[in-house]
């Protein structure tokens, strides 16, 4: 549970998960629903909602977890259509691609990235204070949904 709550706190949010329904298996975390909880055996490959994994001491969130954070996280940026496309292609973001920002605008902070429809495309880290930078990369891509394609590539 700790890696999940620590990760959520980086976005200025507190994720409320019932520990009874969170299962750790092979350093991966899953959230089960009550019906699944009753029948799941220990030797599963994956189960319920995948939340993320710990590898080499680092927590890698799932997109399910990022989606859960959207309504509770304070730090978010909304990108315009072009920047959203570049972001899911794995690119960093310039200031001009950010339509709206909420929460922290300080360098080094983690921020969820949303498209114009409010859908979560991933997350990144501010490479510069949002107020300062013009024309420079202000947002480093850490994880984006294009990862689904890259995983299977």
């Amino acid at each position: 549970m700790k890696p999940l709550t620590v990760f959520a706190s980086k976005f200025g949010g507190k994720v409320a998960l019932n520990p009874e329904f969170v299962v750790e298996h092979a350093q991966r975390y899953y959230l089960l629903n009550p019906a699944l909880r009753k029948i799941v055996k220990r030797n599963f490959y994956c189960a319920g909602m995948y939340l993320g994994k710990v590898k080499g001491g680092v927590f890698f969130p799932s997109f399910n977890l990022l989606n859960m954070l959207v309504p509770i996280a304070a730090n978010k940026v909304i990108l315009d259509r072009k920047a959203a496309w570049l972001f899911i292609c794995g690119r960093d973001i310039f200031r001009k691609g950010i339509v709206q920002s909420m929460g922290s605008q300080r360098r080094g902070d983690c921020t969820l990235v949303l498209n114009e429809y409010g859908e979560c495309l991933g997350f990144g880290m501010l490479a510069a204070d949002l107020g300062d930078a013009s024309g420079r990369v202000v947002f480093r891509n850490v994880l984006d949904v294009g990862d689904f394609l890259r995983r299977e590539g």
Binding site: L31, N33, P34, A35, L36, I39, V40, K41, N43, F44, Y45, C46, A47, G48, M49, Y50, S62, F63, N64, N67, A84, W85, I88, N115, Y117, E119, L121, V145, G146, F148, L149, R151, E152
Partner: protein
């Protein structure tokens, strides 16, 4: 016992004249994830031409497209899946899956698993099985992309499903099969009748295990994308006569199942199966089964 001429002659004996068929890409809208998002319009605004598939509730054919349907943000966000049109049929044939415990016995890469999840509500469970590690990884990705919450996946052969010690209300058997020439351009040079017979044997073993795991009044949907009757009607005839299963009437695309195959007369109820010769879709076969009332 292989080659294009050999198989085309077999199809002719079954009443179908071989012709080349161009596969059409199809998508299925994930209704839960795409609710209220007017997805067809969003895709059209990206330059994707869509045509509603008349025999499917959530299916669209993809026409000309400025972007790859498998690389849009909407796809990556799980708003739709790429799934061949005929392959969208089996999961819709169950008489309700809400609140049920469902076995997807040969689940990877997960197109039908995510479809089942989309049709199920709270309190439902999918148990998905597959044996191939690479295919399991693809299944897990598919489940994550589509935000599926109600599924547990085991690395387990469908022929060992009873080791889970569960009874299932619904069992989807999209069994490993020989496939067909529409989805594999080299099919005729790859496949022989020996492959077909080997697959048929495995399919019967899977059917036997499924019958053992089926809850009272439960349903099995059996499907293949094989055109070979050994994997289709002959297996269903065998299941009726050996496993105490009864073939149910289904209402979907396709012709009646064959009841006379290469001189062999099959149970009349096999006509309730649906055989889809290549044309609008790839070749496909689907059938719904229930236990006979007096079967233990």
């Amino acid at each position: 016992m292989s080659g294009k001429e050999f198989f085309a002659n077999r199809y002719r004996q079954l009443g179908w004249s071989f012709r080349e068929v161009e596969p059409r890409q199809a998508i299925r809208i994930n209704q839960v994830n795409a609710k209220g998002k007017n997805l067809p319009e969003r895709l059209r605004s990206l330059g994707v031409e869509l045509e509603k598939i008349p025999f499917l509730k959530e299916g669209y054919w993809v026409g000309k497209s400025r972007v790859s349907a498998g690389a849009t943000a909407e796809y990556l966000l799980g708003l739709y899946s790429i799934q061949e049109a005929a392959a969208q049929i089996p999961a819709t044939l169950f008489a309700g899956v809400k609140g049920k415990t469902v076995l997807d016995a040969c689940a990877a890469p997960g197109g039908k698993t995510t479809q089942l999840a989309d049709l199920m509500g709270k309190g439902s469970v999918i148990v998905a099985l597959d044996v191939n590690k690479q295919r399991l990884a693809a299944l897990a990705n598919h489940l994550e992309r589509c935000h599926v919450r109600c599924c547990v996946v085991y690395r387990l052969d469908a022929r060992q499903a009873s080791s889970l010690d569960l009874k299932f209300d619904r069992i989807l058997l999209d069994v490993p099969c020989s496939g067909n020439f529409v989805s594999d351009p080299k099919w005729f040079s790859r496949r022989t009748l020996v492959d077909v017979q080997r697959n048929s044997k495995v399919q019967r073993e899977i059917l036997t295990e499924a019958a053992n795991c089926l809850a009272p009044n439960g349903e099995i949907v059996y499907s293949t994308c094989s055109l070979e009757p050994e994997e289709d009607e002959l297996n269903m005839d065998w299941a009726v006569k050996t496993l105490g299963l009864q073939i149910q009437v289904v209402n979907c695309l396709g012709e009646d199942g064959l009841t006379a195959v290469y001189g062999q007369k099959l149970d009349d109820s096999v006509s309730r199966c649906r055989r889809i010769w290549p044309g609008e879709t790839q070749g496909f076969f689907v059938c719904k089964l229930k236990k006979r009332l007096n079967t233990p």
